[in-house]
Amino acid sequence: MKLKSPHLLGIEPMTADEITLILDTAEGFSDIAAREIKKVPTLRGKTVVNFFVEPSTRTRSSFEVAEKRLSADLLNFSTSTSSLVKGETLLDTLRNLEAMSPDFIVLRHSEAGAPHFLARHGHTPIVNAGDGAHEHPTQALLDAFTIRRRKDRLAGLKVAIVGDILHSRVARSNVHLLTKMGAEVVVCGPPTLIPRGFERLGARVTYRMDEAIEGADVVMMLRIQRERMTGGFFPTLREYATFYGLDASRLKRAARDAIVMHPGPINRGVEIMGDVADGEASVILDQVRSGVAVRMAVLYLLAGGDRESAAQER
């Protein structure tokens, strides 16, 4: 089986079978990190452009490591949104990048729909590394990979996603992925940070954190941006932490073997308390580890590979 689209723009258009294919393929790549020579020749001679129009440390590092382990040549191209607005348009930048004949463009952009714009106007496969508040598909895939490793399944799990849902691409991609795979998802945050009509994406919505995490198998905390406070979405970080911060006593409401996730970077003492972030339930660093394997799998499959030959490459 292969992926239908030449691009990875989001989870929403994908089928459950395609998601499973990526997760299964990532299993095959996950043990490379434990080897002495952490490299396979899969993408030798291929060029990947990491085009980042929004600051990012961990997603870019993760893609870079994945690309290097696949033996791809890579070009990092970072710029700020403001310089693109004032100077060269995104379309002109795309044309310049494509003139160097890359095989993939990995795009992180502050505006929703930017990867779709590149896919429509260019001819290079695009991997969405996060677009505005829209989607962050590889994050949802690595989250699913991490959950599956701990729980052996996704179907039937109860997953609570807590925080700034309004501005979160991670929440959207995770809701699409988890509901497609048969999990039950509840999202939680202050009503000012839950967008209208969110329940139609397939998740239940609650404003009470205790209710959200009651019996949850997975508690996924989202980073709260400090500028949301000045935007008037809530009065103070202190009050936010009181109502929506995850501490050990609150976590007791979740299932006994619940896991705690966070896409990072974490705000200790705001959305997650240190004892939970460092505690036994936390799989936050597993998520980072999974990220490399999942991104290797995505690039490998988009390059035309299938799961069987991935096993042989290993």
């Binding site: 929403e12 607005v85 348009t89 995104l90 379309l91 952009h109 505006e111 929703a112 729909g113 930017a114 779709h116 714009f117 429509r120 106007h121 677009d131 505005g132 508040a133 829209h134 989607e135 691409r169 959207r172 967008p195 209208r196 009509g197 969110f198 139609r200 994406l201």
Partner: protein, 429 residues
């Protein structure tokens, strides 16, 4: 040149005419509307199978001149109007500099006289510099030929300023047109706030932002006795508010655009910047409510909000693209296809919304075919098959959400003061 239009269906709702008639035009004016006119001194056109209507007026157009001539000029915009079946357009003052003084009104009128294909009715700013602080010289502009006042593109955010504008405009008996949105409710918004915005991760522009401002304006119109006109009304709730206000005699009128009654926010689903406009495309229930308001008489005019933007300006990330779509060359076909053939209203009501409706709001002696009126005429072919081809537009800009749409019915001839300014009868489109 005298013209005799023969054998057409003549539709003039202001005179209660809808039937087979001839129209005689002499010296640029309507001489007679009757059956079987003979006039040897006139050029005779056989318009059998076509409809002859009073000239259509688009009361909400952005001609971009002065200041943004790469998007549109008075010359190209009025050519687009003629091609689209309009014999007159009212132009909004958000130019650079804005139309906020007598000299800019005079500039626009001079350009229109010199380069225009159809008459232009300037709308002056409510406030100096369109800044929403002090009243502009409305009197001076009215004397020079301004037909209404608006800070279009921006709402009049200050209730105090709106009160003064509604009071002051009574001297000239001209309306104040408001682009209704409460600014603090739409910060950063780019699409209608709802399921589509949530799915796409785009910032929402809620319908309630419009409704709050429409309510405020209605209350101020009632209190001051001034005339308020709601530009491009886009929500069902605003339509309710206007309907109720009219019911108790408040001087409020409103217009609806073809894109708001023909499209919903689903048109944005592929991040298509040609579906990005302000106010945004709304939900299906809003669209249905607008159709109901068009049918029941709540809506006074159909206007395009023709907002030309250069292709490069629109070919960017969705959030960075400017708001607006062109409409002059698609509006009449959309109205015929969706409203008349779609069974929402009869042809006579459609003609009213494009003629006497806007003429009454702008206090223009236009929009009818009475003896002695200017011979401004729009000729329609109700059965013509039209495919929207943006590259064939007379407008400088091609930012239409209707590209490729196949529709039934369209304008075929435009006559201004007895002169044929556009004739597409023989040309395929």
């Amino acid at each position: 040149m005298n013209l005799l239009l023969k054998n057409a269906r003549v539709v003039d709702p202001s005179a209660g005419i809808d039937g087979s008639n001839d129209v005689l035009i002499e010296d640029g004016r309507i001489a007679r509307v009757a059956s079987r006119i003979t006039a040897s001194a006139a050029t005779t056109l056989d318009l059998a199978g076509l409809c002859v209507c009073p000239g259509f007026i688009d009361m909400h157009v952005h001609l971009r001149e002065p200041g943004q001539e790469w998007k549109e000029t008075i010359a190209t915009g009025t050519r687009a109007a003629a091609a689209g079946g309009f014999t007159g357009v009212a132009c909004m003052p958000n130019t650079q500099p804005p139309i906020d003084s007598r000299s800019v009104v005079e500039f626009v009128l001079a350009q229109a006289r010199e380069h225009g294909t159809v008459p232009v009715y300037p709308i002056g700013c409510v406030s100096k510099g369109q800044l929403g602080v002090e009243l502009a010289e409305m009197g001076d502009m009215a004397v020079a030929g301004a037909r209404a006042f608006s800070d279009d593109g921006k709402p009049v955010a200050s209730a105090g300023l709106m009160r003064r504008a509604l009071e002051y405009s009574k001297i000239f008996d001209l309306p104040v047109i408001d682009h209704c949105e409460e600014p603090t409710l739409v910060v950063g918004g780019v699409v209608h706030e709802g399921e589509v915005a949530t799915r796409l991760g785009l910032s929402g522009w809620p319908g309630v932002a419009e409704d709050v401002m429409v309510s405020r304006d209605i209350l101020l119109a009632e209190y001051t006795g001034g005339a308020i006109h709601i530009a491009h009304m886009s929500t069902g709730r605003s339509a309710d508010l206007v309907r109720r206000a009219k019911g108790v005699g408040i001087r409020v009128t409103c217009e609806v655009t073809p894109h708001h009654f023909a499209l919903t926010d689903e048109a944005v689903s592929e991040y298509d910047t040609h579906a990005k406009m302000n106010p945004p495309l709304r939900s299906e229930s809003d669209r249905q409510a607008l159709l109901a308001a068009i049918a029941d008489g709540t809506v006074d005019a159909i206007a395009t909000d023709h907002a030309p933007h250069n292709t490069d300006e629109k070919c960017v990330e969705f959030s960075h693209a400017p708001f607006g779509v062109v409409g002059l060359e698609t509006a009449v076909s959309i109205c015929l296809d969706r409203l008349v053939h779609g069974g929402v209203i009869g042809l006579s009501r459609m003609v009213e919304l494009l003629t006497s409706g806007p003429a009454t709001i702008l206090r223009l002696k236009k929009g009818s075919l009475r003896e002695g009126d200017d011979a401004d005429i729009t000729v329609l072919d109700l059965e013509r098959r039209v495919v929207v081809t943006a590259s064939a537009f007379e407008s400088k800009s091609v930012n239409t959400p209707f590209g490729g749409w196949a529709r039934r019915g369209g304008p075929v001839m435009t006559i201004v003061s007895g002169r044929i300014v556009h004739d597409a009868r023989s040309r395929p489109r």
